[in-house]
Amino acid sequence: MAVAEPYVAKDLVPVGTRFGQGLRQYFQGTPVAGWAAFAALAMMFFVAIFAKAIAPYDPLVPAGPAMSAPGSGYLLGTDTVGRDVLSRVLVGMSTSWWGALAVVASGVVFGGLIGLVAGAVGGVVDSILMRITDVFLALPGPILAVAVVAALGPSYVHTLVGVSLVWWPLYTRIIRAEIRKLRASPHMEAAKISGSGRRRRLTRHLLPGAVPVTIITASLDVSALVLMLSSLSFLGLGAPQPAPELGAMSAQGMTNIFSAWWIPVFPAAAVALIAIVSNFAGDALRDRIRDR
């Protein structure tokens, strides 16, 4: 017999900080695969932060006999002068990871600013800014990055600058599109009627709306950047020797590919690992944010 239960209000749950609550909402209902991806991402950050401490040897000085095979005391073997490959790979992963994040951040800030201005101001400013952006989008980024770094001279900072210079138009396009969409939405009108000024409307009503799409784009972009940066370093456009950079290590190990495969293969595999982790984490993040 079905009897209607009398409605009893649940106990009020204390509301946490706004930030904490937001995070909890984000992650509620994340599938196992998503959790695995986030765990891998946390591991990646851990390695990136503590690379020097985890590394069993100094990445810059020989640690044992040259070209020892993986296993024997040196988990990933040693390179042509006896440096520990694992230590160099760990430090190299950290460099790649922070480098990619730095370029993404500069793309978001610089490209996003242009997109924000173009989308919010509109009119002539919008068309001029977007023409410039389109011109940059129409040029092949990788080869331009090569040219920029080659002109500035090889160094890791120049690589980051060079790639940042060609990497912003994507963010400009995406953020402008989002801002324009938001500008036409009813809540903007409401804000206007309720008397918020131009600046408040921009910072409180437009900008937060563009955050999710920016996070999604940026997180999926990290893997592309890791690949791009390591490719430039492979071509000799990164930090000069003997800095442990994954691309450069792989390139220098190339000559020994048939006698000591671990020297070029492990650094390259580390690049793949970072890219795969950030790809899956980006995917999981997108699923979470899009579902809201």
Binding site: A138, A272, N279
Partner: protein, 331 residues
Amino acid sequence: MLLILGRRLLGALPVLTALVLVVFILQKVAPVDPVVALVGEKAPPEVYEAARHQLGLDKPVPVQFFLYLGHAVQGDLGTSSVTRTLVASDIMKFLPVTLELVFTALVLITVIGFFLGLATAQGWRGSGVLRVVMISGASVPVFLASLLAMLVFYRWLDLLPVTGQTSAYDAPSGPTGFLLVDSLVAGRPSLFLDDLKHLILPAFCIAIAPAVAVGRVLRSSLESTLRAEYTRTAKAKGLGGTQILVRHALRNALSPVLALMGLQLAGMIGNSILVEAIFARPGIGLYISQSISKGDFNTIAGITLVVGLLYVVANIVVDVLQAAADPRIAV
């Protein structure tokens, strides 16, 4: 379609001007003094000044830019600061090798990408595994793929060669510069096969990431066209599965795939530089990577201009193809 072509060609002019401007600015900010590169560090001041005048570097910067633009338009990309050869003629020598590689890669991308897209969209057996492989495949750096390919197909299986463009010492160098074509013109099919063997691994390494991207986009776009009303109509009309797929679903799903191929070209150009350097194929990529290690910026600038031009042209071709696949775009 002509309208699209005309509009895109006009739109390319400011892009190409900007390209020349960017390269020009880079040449200005490069720390290497082109005059010193030409006359040497110990040259007396008169010689230095004469060379400076000859290069036009004593003129105001805007004038220098228009001179540079004028030269570039006429195909004069200056001389290499290391080898003293004409950059433009060097590029003409190396370009066909790279184009051959990129075209082969495009064929592979089409074949693999369509296979992946069709297989996953229609839920063929094992397509779940395919999807994981696809996400991972897109994350593999091209140099890892190349290294593994070398180890597996050369070292362990000894199936395919991994260095150079051909194993023949007397390969024909004309009339087109494309060895695949030239070997057939010269009537030497064995050389054609040899060239093809040298092409497979590098082309495959370039093709992996774009093929996966094509597969993913084709899958999502096929999923929506297969659900569309016109597909149901076609089914109701009594058309067979293959016919529905090819004539209705696939054709309408083609446009985003083409757009994506245009976007992928930039990455393919970058990757072909790496692959040529790794497999020692004497193309633009090997040329630019050698110029990088020699600090030969004139050559890098010239290659950037030519590759940028090709990229812009290729994207115009993609736009026109897109209009051909989907006439609604042309409106």
